[in-house]
Assembly symmetry: C2
Homo-oligomer: 401 residues x 2
Amino acid sequence: MDSYSFLLSLALILLFTKIFGIASAHVHLPQVVGALLAGIILGPSGIGILHQSDFLVKTAEIGVIMLMFIAGIDTDINELKRTGPAACLIAVMGVFVPIIGCGGVYYLFFGSGFNQLNMLKAAFVGVVFAATSVSITVETLNEMGKLKTPVGTTLLSAAIIDDIIGIVVLSVLSAMGDSTVNPGVTVLKILAFFVFTFVVGFIVYKVFKKVTIHHETSRRVAVWALAFCFIMSYCAEKLFGVADITGAYFAGVILCNLTKSRQYVAKKITAASYLVFSPVFFANIGLKTDLSGINAHILLFALVLAVMAVLTKIVGCGVAARVTKMSNRDSLAVGIGMVARGEVALMVAQKGIDGGYIDSSVFPAIVLCVVIAALITPVLLKLSLSKGKVPDSTPVSLKQI
Amino acid sequence: MDSYSFLLSLALILLFTKIFGIASAHVHLPQVVGALLAGIILGPSGIGILHQSDFLVKTAEIGVIMLMFIAGIDTDINELKRTGPAACLIAVMGVFVPIIGCGGVYYLFFGSGFNQLNMLKAAFVGVVFAATSVSITVETLNEMGKLKTPVGTTLLSAAIIDDIIGIVVLSVLSAMGDSTVNPGVTVLKILAFFVFTFVVGFIVYKVFKKVTIHHETSRRVAVWALAFCFIMSYCAEKLFGVADITGAYFAGVILCNLTKSRQYVAKKITAASYLVFSPVFFANIGLKTDLSGINAHILLFALVLAVMAVLTKIVGCGVAARVTKMSNRDSLAVGIGMVARGEVALMVAQKGIDGGYIDSSVFPAIVLCVVIAALITPVLLKLSLSKGKVPDSTPVSLKQI
């Protein structure tokens, strides 16, 4: 009968992410901070009544896929075209500045000599902090109604590009330690993914328009859109080695051209997302955080690494944004928006452990940094974007929570 | 990387349950028939590209819980009070007539002597067909817009009561073979469940009204309602040994008194249900059906058993309905609506295998009967309820699919 405990886990996650989320909103923090804290408090590092399970991990994965799909379907293509070049520069700076900065911190604390393994280990810790987890930023911007601003679109584009660059660098690093992975093949696969997305996108868009004629706001459109999103996520991972969330995002971008169905699909999938999947995603990040193995040295390392992880993104991306002629205020917001790390960072760290590049004693520190970066992003972002504005009156801003 | 195949499974389920569902609707069959067939065709008994997994089983469980919760929150309490006595009689007849009829068929085919074990085995096969799976009937009635008619409400009430009687009989039978289960304790637990539901329902309803003041149509109401539904499902199973779907149904009944939030909650949970959970539930019934172990003798047994399983519900419940002064047409509809068997029947059959009361060679026949009953119910129900009426014009009836 223990097969029913997943119902209790789900209920606890829904209750507490919402209660903590509302509490966060009441002290003018974004709801995601509350949701992440709920996960940490309920999980192994807190009172320990919730634990990761295969079911929760998969439900959380669907949660992040849905968030990215909704971000994609809400994309303003014209805005994306305008922000493309800027986003590229921001992404490149946002990958290499943290690799150097965070890798440097690791070398400072644990580097015992100037050999290839030590360099690889430092670089691996750096790469963990290369990829921005845009989902937290998306949720925060969405909550503030700023997702479709130039800052929002630039951030989304930059985070997508930065995932791709991060994955290329990861593959190159893995290849340096493992002769079975060919970096050239990796780059070719990533290029193939974009050709695939372009061709499939063109065909699917035409088919969608044809079969949903007279059914623009029927259940079938939402069901098929979600099925397409899952297929793109799966193909991205399995065929091309690109992150599933990248596939989900582009599935959304393809369908954002369906002018009549777009809002309907986004609305229905948003309901499924906030009712079950996205609370599990945020709580699951908290559950992953096992803080028990931390001592003073690791804690100091974690704090310095966290400061570096935050500053390198703000400075690297902020400067890049300023170079592309954004205002000081928007450049700062872009830099802050890129600070969040999440599931991709944890995935890279896990790969580092599996490959022997990250020591298990260092792992909790890395997880802590990812959590700090994830926690601090919405706070800083909200501060930077609401500066000089009158805050919304509470009843209105809390109405939709 | 095989950890991503659940995305492909979900996509296939969404695509094919919808395509088969639309095809069913085009030939004037209910969509659930198509959805069930999609599961059989994609699953081990068909082309075998889909298989049961822990994730799909849990997602399907949430699907049936959501369907029952939505049925509960759509309940018209005044209608239920009116139909209560009738529903009781229908449920009692709907439990005992099939136990005698289907048990008799088993004894006819496999009964080798008049001893306690043989009687127990026959009674166990009978009990498998005691509990109606109301979810298929609910979906069909919902699709036809007839869920809130006297027939719909009587069916729902009768199916709930019939689950409870079925579970009591199952416990008594188990107790006869196993001295560790006390039938008296089982009855006490079921009574305790209703006291618990009444007390918790009273408190939760008051708390809900208080904390959702000014937020009747906010996300938090839908999230909390769903969390409450999961908690009630969990408690029903874990604390009282009652089926989780009974807990979900009563959670819905408790919240159907929230006049302002009721529609909003039902709408949002319905979106999550049809987008992910209920397609998985229906496909999963199809996936469970392994037809490979069937030979001529078993097939003949299955067919006779299926006819008996269908007729005993139609006659038993139909006569009971007629006795309570329903019209001939409505009595027939009630009898037919009670024909469907589903997850409770399969669960009882599984318990029978575990306890040695059902031979593994007989199991496929029982599964086949459950599927036949599940497939035939919506067809017969639609025929009986639409008799003498002009069918809806296709574009309108297919609009919401």
